[in-house]
């Protein structure tokens, strides 16, 4: 069955999410949102009823009633199992930069800001890094500004951190301060990943291809997830599930 890169990524992310209690997804993240809803549909099929999915941009898929601090308090309580972050830059130690490029006193580029990353990255057990521009501009040897650090000294309280980085080209896992290439998406190669990645990473002798989503997964995405996603991301749903156009490189 044919599928779009968005569907491949959502499938992979849903698998990384796994069987957890609560996945929260930030604003403007349609693919992670699709993945979280897919994980929930899988949970329904398996009879677990998990995970809860909070789409922060949605009033329908959100359970918050204690104001803007509740997400962070909830994460601090250990009740958020999975969250998604990105970065203007991401480096090989898992540091992310959401603030600026260049010298801090005179930056050349300014991004919006760190949002909640400087807290959530430390207390959410599975943070999935998501960046669909896989290039030496975004995946760098060392970020110019650390919005949130990929790892901490042993005495620093830390119950969370990055577990994976998924891009338009491949999937990395993250452990002990380093990324490992897990699989390369169909149509991409290991050499291409090396060429476009600014940081060192580990890889097995044979890097598998990221498996295509099964027919069952595609049916769940198209029949169950897309209708729920539509209220929050109408343009994304129209494009991917309607016109079946990808915004990502093939």
């Amino acid at each position: 069955m044919t599928f779009l890169p968005e569907e491949l990524l959502a499938d992979q992310i849903a698998t990384i999410i796994g069987d957890v209690r609560h996945v929260a997804v930030g604003n403007a993240s349609p693919i992670p949102a699709a993945a979280a809803l897919l994980a929930r549909e899988r949970g329904k099929l398996q009879g677990t009823g998990r995970p809860y999915v909070s789409l922060l941009g949605s009033s329908q898929h959100t359970f918050w009633t204690d104001g803007g601090r509740e997400l962070f308090d909830c994460a601090g309580q250990g009740r958020i199992d999975v969250f998604f972050l990105s970065g203007g830059q991401i480096d090989g130690e898992g540091n992310i930069n959401l603030v600026e490029i260049g010298d801090h006193a005179h930056p050349k580029v300014r991004f919006p800001g760190s949002y909640g990353s400087a807290h959530l990255y430390y207390v959410v057990p599975k943070v999935i890094l998501f960046r669909t521009e896989h290039s030496r501009r975004t995946l760098v040897p060392r970020v110019d500004f650390i919005s949130a650090a990929g790892r901490s000294a042993p005495n620093v309280h830390r119950t969370g951190g990055p577990v994976a980085l998924i891009t338009n080209r491949c999937l990395f896992s993250f452990a002990d301060g380093r990324f490992t290439l897990k699989s390369v998406h169909p149509g991409h190669t290991v050499e291409e990943v090396i060429e476009h990645t600014g940081f060192d990473f580990d890889r097995p002798a044979q890097v598998p291809e990221t498996p295509a989503p099964t027919g069952e997964t595609l049916a769940l995405l198209r029949d169950k997830v897309a209708p729920q996603l539509e209220a929050v991301y109408p343009q994304f749903v129209a494009k991917v599930f309607g016109r079946r156009e990808s915004a990502l490189s093939a």
Binding site: N27, A28, S59, W64, T65, D66, G67, G68, R69, F72, D73, G76, L98, V99, E100, H104, H106, P107, K108, V109, R110, F111, P112, G113, S114, Y115, G116, S117, A118, H119, L120, Y121, Y122, V123, F145, I146, S147, A148, A149, S152, A153, N155, V156, H157
Partner: protein, 274 residues
């Protein structure tokens, strides 16, 4: 509570004061923001709890802001906030970068009348590194357990827009409870509302649960569509077309000036339906 005009209500937002405003989905006081720009307020220490979009961009572009304390400014799916970005790069504003829960916690410190609040995370980040006003201590309840202490943020004025107030000055804020924390933390609270009803919100337990008592509210003005072109939760959505126009115009200083002339300095701000 005496009902005031918009300009009367914002009169106490004086040059140089610390003004706190809420994030986009909470009731951003856009009508009041335009009135502030028309009045030419200067040198604000603007705290956006915990992020901002059009509001911060407008105030910065119009030269009202000296210091900005927030976790992010962006126009969301419409891209970067152009005047914010330009002002940071040119050094026109002093930036105090934070992270969302740090701002919430620092407000809660003020709400509780304590000088600081602890927060997990942050250690090893440059957000912490560039905040001389944040301190790291060893938690006295652990062994070699460093933790960040954030000083209380005590704003001079909290300003927000809400759907409804009653004639006693009680304001219905619903689930937007950071508005309550803002009002508790600030020396003065100024609220614009869609409408004022002749009733007492505190008499109805269902409404009371989402009500900020009038005791905390210093001034109220009616501003219909007062969050426009931003959304008001459960009432109206964002005016995406207008915001897209802004995002385009504000990429240049000239375009931004034209936006101000047309949509801010013009005596009657456009309503959502125009």
């Amino acid at each position: 509570m005496t009902l005031q005009t918009l300009d009367e209500a914002i009169a106490t937002i004086t040059d140089g004061c610390m003004l706190i405003v809420p994030r986009e989905v909470c009731g951003v006081p856009m009508a009041a923001t335009r009135a502030l720009i028309r009045r030419g307020v200067k040198s604000l220490h603007l705290v956006a709890l915990p992020t901002s979009s059009l509001q911060a961009d407008l105030l910065i572009g119009a030269g009202c802001v000296a210091t900005l304390e927030t976790s992010a400014v962006s126009l969301g799916e419409l891209g970067p906030a152009p005047r914010f970005t330009a002002a940071v790069l040119s050094g026109a504003i002093r930036m105090k970068d934070a992270t969302c829960p740090a701002l919430h916690a620092a407000l809660q410190a003020a709400e509780k009348g304590v000088p600081f609040m602890p927060l997990r995370g942050l250690i090893g980040s440059d957000v912490l590194k560039y905040r001389d006003d944040w301190k790291v201590i060893d938690s006295p309840f652990g062994e070699s357990d460093p933790i960040v202490l954030l000083p209380a943020i005590n704003p001079d004025v909290a300003l927000f827009h809400a759907p409804l107030a009653d004639e006693h000055g009680n304001v219905w804020i619903g689930r937007q409870r950071e508005l309550v924390t803002m009002a508790h933390a600030a020396k003065r609270t100024i609220v614009t509302v869609e409408t004022i009803e002749k009733r007492n919100l505190l008499d109805d337990p269902i409404y009371a649960a989402g009500t900020l008592p009038g005791f905390y509210v210093d001034a109220i003005a009616v501003a219909e569509n007062g969050a426009w072109p931003l959304p008001l939760p459960d009432r109206y959505r964002a005016d995406v077309e207008h915001l897209a126009m802004y995002a385009k115009m504000a990429t240049s200083e000239a375009g931004f000036g034209e936006y101000l002339a047309r949509h801010v300095y013009a005596e009657q701000p456009l309503s959502a339906s125009s």
